[in-house]
Each structure stands twice: as C-alpha cells, then as structure tokens.
C-alpha cells in the first residue's frame, strides 16, 4: 500500500507555484490561464498560438502558390490542366481569405488585450509591442503572398491569350477561341471530354447554358465541338460564359467610348463655329467703317449744297438788280444809237 502514494498535495503545490510564476510574466493573459487546466506552465498565450497557426497557414499557402505558379508557366498547347489549375487557384484564394480573417481576429484579440491590460509595467508594454510587431509581420507576409498570387494569375492569363492566338492559327474553326478556358469559373467537375465524345453525356445544365449565349444555335456548338474534337469541349462552354460576362462590360465600355468621341466631335464643331464667327466679325467691321465713310461724305456733300443754295438764294436779288441795270443800259444804248 505504501507503493501507492498519494502525491496530490505535492502536485497541487507545484501547480500553484507554476501558476504564480507564469501569472507574473503574462499578466495580460490571466483570463486565458484558467484554461490551462493541467497546469502546463508553458506561457504560450492564446496570441502566440494563433500567430503560429497563421504562420503555418501562410507557409502552406506559399507552397501551393509556388506549385500553381509552375503550372501556370507551362506553355504547352494541349497538355494544359485546367482542372488542377482552377482547383488550386480556388484553394489558394480561400486560404488567403481565411488567413486574412484570422489576422483580423488576432488583431482584435490583441486590441482586446491592450484594453484589458491597464498595466504600466515595462513587461506589459513590451508584450503589447511584440504582439503588434507580430501582427504587422504576418500582414506583410500575407500581402506578399497575395502579390505573388496576382502575378501568377497575370502570367496565366497571358499564356492563355498566347495559346489562344496560336490555336487560332492552327485550328481554323469558328470557335477556335475555346480551346483554352479560363479557369476561374470552372467548378472542378471532372472533364467529361476525355474521350473526345460530344457533350451528350455532359450535364445538361452546362449544355443549355452554353446554347443560351446570344448565338442561339446549339447546332453551332455541336459542330464546333466535333470539329475541334479536343478534350476541352466542356471548357468551351465556360469560355462562352465568360465571354457573356465580358461582353456586357465591353458593351458598356464601347458605349461610353462612343459618347466620349461624340463629345470630342462636338467640341471640334464648336471650335469651327467660333472660328467662322470671328472671321465674319472682321467683315462686319469693314462694313461698319464703310458706312461711316458714307455717312461723312454724304453729310459734307449736303453741306456744300446748302452753302451753294444759300449763296444763290442770297445773291439772286442782287443779281436781278444787276441784270436789270445792265438790260436798262443795253436798251438805252440801242435807243441812243
């Protein structure tokens, strides 16, 4: 019976001592310490646990992103694996979103701690700063990952465009644009076109969706697929879907561009108008000057005539008299002689 010792009391004192020790170091996480039931003295606060979890997530996401990048860089025309790529992109996106959320939670947690922690001790303050730094580092790492993600997506779209143009050169069908699908919308259903058979076996939703595109003719779709005969017929439908999406936006942009050009034209017309009116203004000035001259001339001529008339009307009496005298003299001369 002595072999079974009851060391509960010792155990309890141990727990107490460790608790007090860790409580001094981690004042801010006192509430969380109660969770450490088994008395584990590890001062791992909730904060550092969350932070390490986030770090692990980030590293795993980076790995996946690298793999995605490698896949995207491949430039082969036919061996493109849209399923994988789209799955990976989807997963990476989700991961980034969840990491974002976790970091936000962590930040909120840290702020909570800060609010609770009214300590002025140097340790407490260091702890806060340490938490903040960790958060910033995690955020910058996440930003890096998202930038790389964006780059990978860009590379992927570029490659797709190139392969699209190359397929147009080689494959002369009306729907040759469909050979390489965008992976964003693809919901990861297994590619049913592996054996090259037309879409009768494909789920009818996809088929009806594709035929409802603006092109209307399902026949067109069938013929194109048989003509292409590649394993990407299923993906062809999605390209149509994306084109539908794009076309609305493109239509909008073309409409707005046409408005812009109309406004520019109107501006030009206004300018021409202004030019013509300015030119005509000069003519109006000439007319104005001419009419002034006319007015002056006519006035002066009128004055002259008035003078003349005045002279004559004054002199007539005298002239009559002179004439009368002359005539009398003449008569006298004739009578005398």
């Amino acid at each position: 019976m002595a072999s079974i010792q009851d060391r509960t009391h010792e155990f309890k004192t141990c727990v107490e001592s460790i608790r007090t020790r860790s409580a001094v170091g981690n004042r801010g996480t006192e509430a969380k310490q109660r969770l450490l039931q088994n008395g584990r003295a590890s001062p791992k606060s909730e904060f550092s646990r969350m932070a390490s979890a986030i770090g692990k997530d980030i590293s795993s996401t980076t790995l996946k992103l690298n793999k995605l990048g490698q896949l995207a860089k491949r430039k082969t025309l036919f061996d493109d694996r849209p399923v994988e790529i789209s799955e990976l992109t989807f997963i990476v996106k989700q991961d980034i979103a969840s990491i974002n959320k976790q970091i936000a939670q962590l930040q909120a947690h840290a702020k909570q701690q800060e609010a609770k922690n009214a300590s002025t001790s140097a340790e407490g303050k260091l702890l806060e700063e340490h938490n903040k730094n960790i958060i910033m580092m995690l955020q910058s790492k996440l930003a890096e990952t998202s930038m790389t993600f964006k780059d990978v997506l860009e590379v992927r779209t570029q490659n797709m465009k190139e392969s699209k143009s190359r397929t147009e050169q080689f494959m002369y069908t009306a729907s040759s644009a469909a050979n390489h699908p965008p992976s964003m919308l693809y919901r990861g259903t297994p590619d049913p076109m592996g054996d090259g058979s037309p879409t009768k076996a494909f789920d009818p939703k996809g088929k009806s969706r594709a035929s409802q595109n603006g092109d209307v003719l399902a026949l067109d779709l069938d013929a194109a697929e048989e003509g292409v005969g590649s394993s990407n017929g299923g993906a062809f439908m999605q390209m149509q879907l994306v084109e539908q999406q794009d076309s609305y936006i493109q239509q909008r942009s073309t409409a707005i561009e046409s408005i812009e050009s109309t406004i520019a034209e109107l501006g030009q017309i206004f300018q021409q108008l202004a030019h013509m009116v300015a030119e005509q203004g000069e003519r109006v000035q000439r007319i104005d000057a001419d009419t002034q001259d006319i007015a002056d001339n006519v006035r002066m001529g009128h004055n002259e005539l008035l003078k003349y008339w005045g002279r004559i009307s004054n002199d007539r009496w005298l002239m009559l008299k002179i004439f009368g005298v002359l005539i009398v003299f003449f008569l006298l001369f004739i009578l005398v002689s």
Partner: protein, 199 residues
C-alpha cells in the same frame, strides 16, 4: 421594343427559387391569352434564374422572347430577370437589372424574403413603365441621344453661319460701292461751289 415582364427572385444556390416581386405588361396580347402567358413568364423566369450561376449575367432566347438574367448572389442571393422582345437593346437591359436590384435591396428588408406575399415593391411597376423606352430611361443612351441631337443642331447652326457669311460678303461689297459714290457726290458738290464765281 417592349418589355414584357420584370421579376426579382430569391435564388439560393441549392436550387429552389422563389419569386419575390414581379411586374408585367401584357397589353399587347389578347385578353384570353394573358393568363397562360403570365404563367409562362413566371416559369421562364424561374428556370433561367435557377440555371444561372451567382454573379453571372445571361441572355436566353425562346421563340420571340429573350430573357436577360442577372444573378447577383451576394448576401441576399437575389436574381433579377427581364423578359423582353428581340429588339430591346441588351446593355440597358442589364443595367436596368442592376439598378432594380440595388433599389430592391435598399427598400425591402432581408427578413421578408421568406414571405414573398408580404413584400410590396411598387417601384417595379414604375421601372417597367419607364424602361419601355430605353433611350429615355437608360442614362448612357439618353446622353448619347442628346449628344446626337446637339450635333444636328450644331450642324444647322454652322450652315446658317455660312449663309450669314455670304450675306455679309454682299453687304461689304455694297457698302464699298456706296462709299465710293458718296465720295464722288461730295467732290462734285465741292467743285460746283468753287466753280461758280458769278457774284
């Protein structure tokens, strides 16, 4: 260019769509056909909204009718459908749908989605009436139309300015001639005055 019906549906991705609000203008059909056509419109709207993924726009043609669907998804999982004839321009149809959804979301609370009969959204009828003439209702088209009219007015203005220029030209010539003649008149008058020396 007619719109036959507009409807807003709740379209959760699990497949069961329910109609939240709709308005239709079936005045072009005979009285007896209207009932069946209304049913057809509802069925059409439900089907295409079920077949459209979230965040996607689609156009489906069925005989003479085209349905433009915009499944916005998002938190409210709404989807708007407009059924119109083939002449109706596509882009304003989609912008109408977006506008309608925004309006609906702002005016009707999400809690009433589960009880469609309680939703009253009379604006949908206004939208239907207003957008029967898309060139007036849709902003981009209206701006384009006004710009075109302005361009026509400006062309006429330039023509009249040209005519004014011609008239001004003739005026210039005539005033020139008149000025010369008045000068001659003045000279003559002066000469007459100086020459008459009869005292």
């Amino acid at each position: 260019m007619k719109i036959f019906a507009i409807s807003i549906l709740l379209a959760p991705p699990s497949g069961a769509t329910s109609m939240l609000s709709s308005a239709s203008d079936l005045s072009s059909f005979s009285f007896f056909q209207r009932g069946s056509i209304e049913e057809f419109m509802t069925f059409f709207a439900k089907t295409v909204s079920e077949r459209t993924q979230q965040g996607q726009r689609q156009s489906v043609q069925e005989n003479n009718y085209i349905a433009h669907v915009y499944n916005r998804g998002g938190a409210e999982q709404l989807c708007a459908v407009i059924i119109c004839d083939q002449e109706y321009p596509v882009r304003p149809a989609f912008s109408l749908l977006s506008k309608l959804l925004d309006d609906f979301i702002s005016k009707v609370q999400t809690s009433s989605y589960s009880n469609p009969s309680s939703i009253s959204f009379p604006d949908i009828q206004n939208y239907l009436q207003k957008y029967q003439d898309p060139t007036q209702a849709d902003t981009i088209m209206r701006v384009q139309q006004e710009l075109d009219e302005t361009k026509i007015v400006l062309h006429k203005t330039i023509e009249s300015v040209l005519q004014r220029g011609e008239k001004l030209d003739s005026l210039v010539d005539r005033s020139n001639a008149l000025s010369a003649q008045s000068k001659m008149f003045y000279k003559q008058a002066k000469k007459q005055n100086s020459c008459c020396s009869i005292m």
